[in-house]
């Protein structure tokens, strides 16, 4: 029963989000809207953590399995990757370095560089 309820909540959120996106149009991904809807329901206390947990926990535990097939899809674009390798390599290095530096420096500015907790 708890599994049924948990999966029904998740699928209902997804269905609502798909309907909303269908009517308002635009390219915003429906699953993300559904995630926000479920989060709002949880934060407002309408849906309780234990209602979602029975299905959400196991599905999150094996989630990587669901995106492995999509992740392998890059082999369809090996030509494009080869011809733009310098661009992709610089993105791969500069995006994390600048983000790490920026975020850590801003927090260190407010909270100090050493541990104070």
């Amino acid at each position: 029963m708890k599994y049924l309820l948990s999966s029904a909540i998740i699928l209902l959120c997804l269905a609502c989000a798909k309907l909303i996106m269908h009517f308002i149009g635009g390219s915003f991904p429906a699953p993300l809207l559904a995630m926000v809807i479920l989060l709002v329901l949880l934060l407002s206390g309408i849906v309780k953590e234990q209602h979602v947990k029975p299905c959400a926990s196991p599905i999150l535990n094996i989630m990587p399995i669901f995106f492995i097939p999509a992740g392998v899809g890059f082999i369809e674009h090996l030509g494009l990757i080869k011809s733009h390798w310098a661009f992709l390599a610089s993105v791969m290095v500069l995006v994390p370095i600048t983000t790490l530096l920026l975020v850590s420096s801003v927090i260190a500015y407010f909270k100090g560089r050493e541990n104070n907790d």
């Binding site: 492995i68 993105v91 994390p96 975020v103």
Partner: protein, 247 residues
């Protein structure tokens, strides 16, 4: 003769569906079990099960000359389940929210800053390197966990699988060199390190952060969950804006 062989193969291939899904599941679970038994944090990052599973399957498909489209259609069931799994991500998000209520404003602000930075830096690089539009859309949402990156990139018209591969590589680089970078700039504050790792290097970075110090790991988990939500909101608005004003 050749025709006969081709038709024989194409008749056989539809039966391969039962191989694709169990193969992915067994491969991933086995690699995860191996990964969990490794203590050394460098080896742990390098043997990330998602990274290894994707690499092994990609190598197999390329070397055995198997078409990806066939593999994708055989494993469609798994890809369909990605959508409800993304909805389920609301649960860890909710659990993390309740942990950080007092620091929420600063963490939300810095996470947003990190996400904007990642999108802008990638976009400026794509202008600098004169990259085609499809590639520039593929690198717009890299500072986030793989499933969100896949779906946002798809909505922007990019190559989602390429984004996924880049996201995983970024996570690996962050896990391997992130803490060296913090040492270089003399930042030892747990909150600084954790939020930065979670924002820039998502799950793989968070695993390294947990190994570094539990408190760094806790901040990293919060930042990772928040950046999933914030990327979903910010990037689909920011990227078209950048395209409009800079191109």
């Amino acid at each position: 003769m050749t025709n006969f062989t081709f038709s024989a193969i194409s008749e056989l291939q539809p039966n391969l569906w039962w191989l694709s899904i169990p193969f992915i599941i067994v491969l991933f679970l086995a690699l995860r079990a191996v990964n969990q038994s490794i203590k050394n944090s460098v080896f742990k990052s390098l043997t990330n099960p998602v990274f290894l599973s994707i690499s092994i399957i990609a190598l197999l498909l390329v070397n055995l000359n198997l078409p990806y489209t066939q593999f994708a259609s055989h494993s469609k069931l798994l890809s369909w389940l990605l959508e409800p799994a993304i909805v389920a991500l609301a649960l860890p998000l909710y659990q993390q929210f309740t942990h950080v209520r007092k620091n929420l404003l600063l963490i939300v602000a810095t996470c947003s800053l990190g996400i904007v930075n990642a999108t802008v830096v990638a976009f400026l690089l794509s202008i600098l390197f004169n990259a085609p539009a499809q590639l520039s859309a593929s690198v717009a949402a890299l500072s986030v966990t793989t499933p969100i990156s896949l779906i946002v990139t798809d909505s922007l018209g990019g190559i989602s699988s390429l984004a996924a591969a880049l996201v995983i590589f970024i996570g690996l680089l962050g896990a391997l060199f992130g803490f060296m970078l913090f040492k270089l700039i003399n930042i030892f504050n747990h909150e600084s390190q954790g939020v930065a790792m979670g924002t820039a290097c998502h799950a793989i970075g968070t695993a390294a952060a947990i190994a570094e110090h539990p408190k760094v790991g806790a901040y990293s988990s919060v930042a990772m969950a928040l950046s999933a939500l914030l990327t979903a909101i910010i990037v689909p608005l920011l990227y078209p804006f950048l395209v409009n004003i800079l191109l």
